[in-house]
Symmetry: C2
Subunit: 336 residues, 2 copies
Amino acid sequence: MYMHVKALESLLATTNGLPLNVRVILEGEEEVGGEGIASYVASKPADLQADFALISDTEMFAPGLPTLCVGLRGMIYTEIEVRSSRTDLHSGMYGGAAPNAFVALCQIIARLKDESGHILVPGVYDNVTPPSSEELDAWQSLPFDEEHYRENEVGSRALAGEEGYSVLERTWARPTLDVHGMPGGFIGAGAKTVIPAKATAKVSMRLVPDMTPAGTFELYKSYVQHIAPSDVEVDVRLIHFGDPCLIPVDNPYVQAATTALKEIWGKDTVFIRSGGSIPIVGDLNRHLNLPSVMMGFGLPDDNLHAPNEKFQISNFHQGIESIIRFLEVVGESTGI
Amino acid sequence: MYMHVKALESLLATTNGLPLNVRVILEGEEEVGGEGIASYVASKPADLQADFALISDTEMFAPGLPTLCVGLRGMIYTEIEVRSSRTDLHSGMYGGAAPNAFVALCQIIARLKDESGHILVPGVYDNVTPPSSEELDAWQSLPFDEEHYRENEVGSRALAGEEGYSVLERTWARPTLDVHGMPGGFIGAGAKTVIPAKATAKVSMRLVPDMTPAGTFELYKSYVQHIAPSDVEVDVRLIHFGDPCLIPVDNPYVQAATTALKEIWGKDTVFIRSGGSIPIVGDLNRHLNLPSVMMGFGLPDDNLHAPNEKFQISNFHQGIESIIRFLEVVGESTGI
C-alpha cells in the first residue's frame, strides 16, 4: 500500500494530476481474517464502484522477473475440539480406562490426509478444476529448481505432497490441509501425568477453483464427526474463510500491466498463481464484479510470516516505478 | 508423611518410647520424577538398612474399606519431537509441498495405540505377567460399579480400553499409553496460518510386572523411528521412568498391617493394586531389598492431580490411628 501512495504522490508532484480516477481502500486486518473489510465491501457496493482493483500482496516468481498473479487459493480455517472427560485425570489412576482427548484427536487428524498428501475427506476433490494445458505448459517453462527449493526455501529432508503433481501444481492448483497447533494439556518443560479432558487442533484447508468454503467446510465437518471415536465428544468450528479465485488474463488491465512491467523490468511478464489466500480479491469479484490486477514485488526468500521476514529495497523502488507506469498505460489505453 | 509424624509424636507423648526403631525418609519430588531420592537410595544403601518400609501414597478402594496396595505400575515418560523444516513456513506459500510436523506427529501417535486401546509397539506385551486367578477372583468381589465409575469419576461418554479385560485389570495389570500435551506451533486464540517447523508430544506408558523401563523404552523408540514419515526428522527422549512392582502378601509386615487395620476400621483388609507409579517402592526393593507396606487413606473421588483435589479429614484421623496401631503390632509380633 505504501508503494501505491508513493506512486500517486510522484505522479501528482510531477504531472500535476493523475492519468485516471483512483480510489484507495486500506485493509489492515488481512492476516487475522479480514472480516472488517469483507463486510464493508458487501454492505457498500455503491460507494466502491470501479473498473478494476490493483493489489500488491503477491510476489515475483524470481528476482528481476516481472510477475502477475492470476490465481489464489481460498481457505477454511477451523478448530476441532475433542472432549474426553469432565475434568483432567491422573494417568496412573485412569490410564487404560479413560479416553484420551489427544489420542482421539491424533486418530482423527491421521485420517484427514494420507502419507502422500491426499486429502481423505470424501467429495473434497469433486469441484477442483484443473489448470488448462496452456497454463501447465507455461508453469513448466518457469525457472524452478525443485532441489534448491527443498533445501533453501523449505529446508526439509524431502518434499511432501501428492504424487503425479509438480510442486507448482501442489501449491497453486491443488487443495491441501495443514495443522497449525494443538492447544490443551501439559506443554511445559518436564513431565506431568495428566489425561487432558480437552484437546484442540487448529486445522486449515487451502481451496482451489471451483471449491467453495461453505461446501468444503460441510464435507470436512461431517467427515470429522463421522470418523471421531465414539467415546469422545467432538466440535468442529469454522474460524474464517476465503474464496479461491482465478483472474482471466485477456482483460485490458492485465494487458496494461504487462506493457508497464516490460518497460520497467525489461522482460516479458510471467503469469503465476499463488498458494496463499487474499480474501478481498474474492470479495471484490463477488460483490462488485471487479477484476483484480495482482502486481506484487515480494521475493521467494522473503520468509513470509516467519522469522527474519524481509522486503528487498530495490524491489520497493522498481515497484513504485512499475505502479506509476501501469497507471499511465491504463489511463492512455482504456480512457477510464 | 504428616500422618506418620503425628503417629510417632503421639506414641512418644503417651508411651514415652516407640515399639520399634524408626527411620524417616522424606521425598518431596515424586510428582516431578523423584530423581533425587532415587540416586540417594542407590548411593547410600548402608545408611538406609531396614526391615521394611511404610509408605502412605495410595488410596482406599472405597470409603471405610481398609485397603493395602500390593502392586504398582511403573512408567516411562517420553517426548517425541518431530522437525519438518528449517523454519516456520506460510501454509499458503508452502502448503501441499512442505511436510507438516504436527500432521506427521499425529500419524505417529495414531499408530501407537489402536482404537480399542491395544498398544501397537511390537513386543510390548511379551513380559506382561497376568495376575493370578486368586487375585483376579478377589478383584471380582470388590465393590465396583462400572457405570458409576464412568459417569462420576471419569465423566466420559464411554470407557476406553482393551476388550476382554475388566476396568480394574485395565488400570492395574495392563500397560497403557497416554498423550499429555503437544507443544509447538500456534496455540493462541484465532487463526495463524503457520506450518510449524517443529512439534513435540509428551507421551507416557504405564508398565506392569515384569516389564522393564529400559527394555520398554527401547521397543517404543525403535518402533516410533520405524513408523515415522520419511520426510521429517524424529527424536525420542526418555524424560523419567520407574519400575513396576508387586509385593508378596505373605510377609509379617503386611500381616501386621491387616491386623491393625481390622482393629481400627472394623473390616477385613482388601488387597488392591494401583495403576499409578511410586518409583521409590521399586528403588527400595532393588537397592535395599525392602518390602513396602503401602497403607494409604486417599479416596477414589479425591480428584488426584486435578482441579478441586481433596483429602477427607476423618481419613486423616483414622489414618494416624491406623499407623500407631500398625507400629505397635509390628513391634509386638516381629520383635524388630
